[in-house]
């Protein structure tokens, strides 16, 4: 085991006792194969069982353990201690209200995911016995990267637009809308446009690109939003030139 130790400065907030959050420091060992989540688990198991945080899979799949690590939104299960300095500042995901310690209130994010109708809207509903909706590999490739989102909300914590205007639908929800809009089996684009193409949707994004830089799954929400802007603009001009057109 490595001799190195690191100091975690963890933001603590107890809504029943604290008026505002404060930092609390813990010294933890730093084995070569430990990630930040291992160090937080060490604190919870050995040093301070009052610490609250979310985690589940420890393998960058569940999206639960997102937090600010030295000011950068990261999955704590994917951030190795060996790549971090001796003092690591850990805070709850930025831009979200703090529920307790490192736990944030995700209700706004969940609500926005639901608002973009994140499910297939087929032209004709088929009974299960009629078989599946077919799709070619090329049609799948058009949107596959946008299916990889794990809803970790790191992109929201990185987005300055969401920080300044909490009404913004935000990167992950808009990327998910683009995922379904780009699906050859889906006809829900018009139904999603009320939310997606509104002032609080794609047009609130000014392409900072921070969402794509921090995404642990390389979903690239910034790309999805820019592509939706182009599609929406084409729709606008088609409506202008061909009033009454369908689709």
């Amino acid at each position: 085991m490595s001799e190195r130790q690191v100091e975690l400065e963890i933001l603590r907030y107890d809504p029943d006792k604290d008026r505002e959050p404060r930092f609390q420091a813990y010294r933890v060992p730093c084995p070569e194969d430990w990630v930040v989540l291992d160090a937080i688990n060490y604190v919870k198991d050995r040093l301070d069982r009052t610490l609250s945080y979310r985690w589940s899979c420890h393998m960058a799949v569940c999206g639960s353990c997102g937090m600010m690590i030295n000011g950068e939104p990261k999955l704590s299960c994917k951030t190795f201690l060996r790549d971090q300095p001796d003092r690591i500042r850990i805070e709850p995901l930025a831009s979200f209200p703090i529920e307790r310690d490192l736990v944030v209130v995700m209700g706004d994010f969940m609500n926005k995911l639901g608002r973009v109708k994140p499910y297939l809207v087929p032209a004709e509903k088929k009974a299960v016995e009629d078989g599946s909706y077919l799709q070619s590999p090329g049609q799948l490739k058009k949107f596959k990267q946008y299916t990889l989102c794990i809803n970790c909300a790191l992109c929201y914590a990185a987005c300055p637009q969401y920080a300044l205007n909490p009404g913004f639908i935000g990167p992950a929800a808009l990327a998910l809308a683009h995922r379904y809009n780009s699906d050859s089996r889906d006809v829900g684009r018009t139904a999603r446009a009320d939310v997606v193409a509104s002032n609080e949707g794609i047009w609130e994004c000014s392409f900072v690109g921070a969402c794509s830089e921090v995404c642990p799954e390389h979903v690239d929400p910034a790309a999805a939003i820019q592509q939706t802007k182009i599609a929406s603009t084409i729709d606008y001009f088609k409506d202008l030139l061909l009033p009454g057109r369908k689709g």
Binding site: I98, R100, V105, S136, G138, G209, A210, A222, A223, Q227
Partner: protein, 129 residues
């Protein structure tokens, strides 16, 4: 949800200084000010040209002032930054898929640079350089 979730204050003016990626973004956005000003100067030049030889000569003389030269150097730097940063993100906004294969982003970026070179060469040719 707890009865008292804590909402962290956020600066509405200094936020862009918090991370280097935000500073790069603001630099890209600010570059349009120089490009807009340069376009304004070109428009004034056209106006002066339409007003006769004397007006045009005065415009050319003003361009040679040290303030004008400093501005044009700055505008050139910002125009290059503006152009390269936008060209580099074009594969995000305009990905191309041919059949089952995605065209590499580098090819889309290279096509923009090629177009830039072509238009520049055409302009230089028309200007008689």
């Amino acid at each position: 949800m707890s009865a008292k979730p804590y909402i962290r204050p956020r600066s509405t003016t200094g936020w862009w200084l918090e991370q280097s990626r935000y500073v790069r973004y603001m630099a890209r956005e600010a570059s349009c000010i120089f490009i807009g000003a340069y376009a304004g100067i070109l428009a004034v030049g056209l106006l002066r040209l339409s007003q006769g030889a004397e007006a045009w000569a005065g415009f050319l003389e003003a361009l040679q002032s040290s303030a004008s030269i400093v501005f044009h150097l700055l505008a050139l730097v910002f125009a290059l930054y503006h152009t390269t940063t936008w060209f580099n993100v074009t594969p995000k906004a305009m990905p191309l898929q041919i059949g089952d294969a995605r065209l590499p982003g580098e090819a889309i970026i290279a096509a923009h640079y090629a177009g830039w070179a072509l238009v520049s060469a055409a302009l230089l040719y028309l200007a008689g350089v």
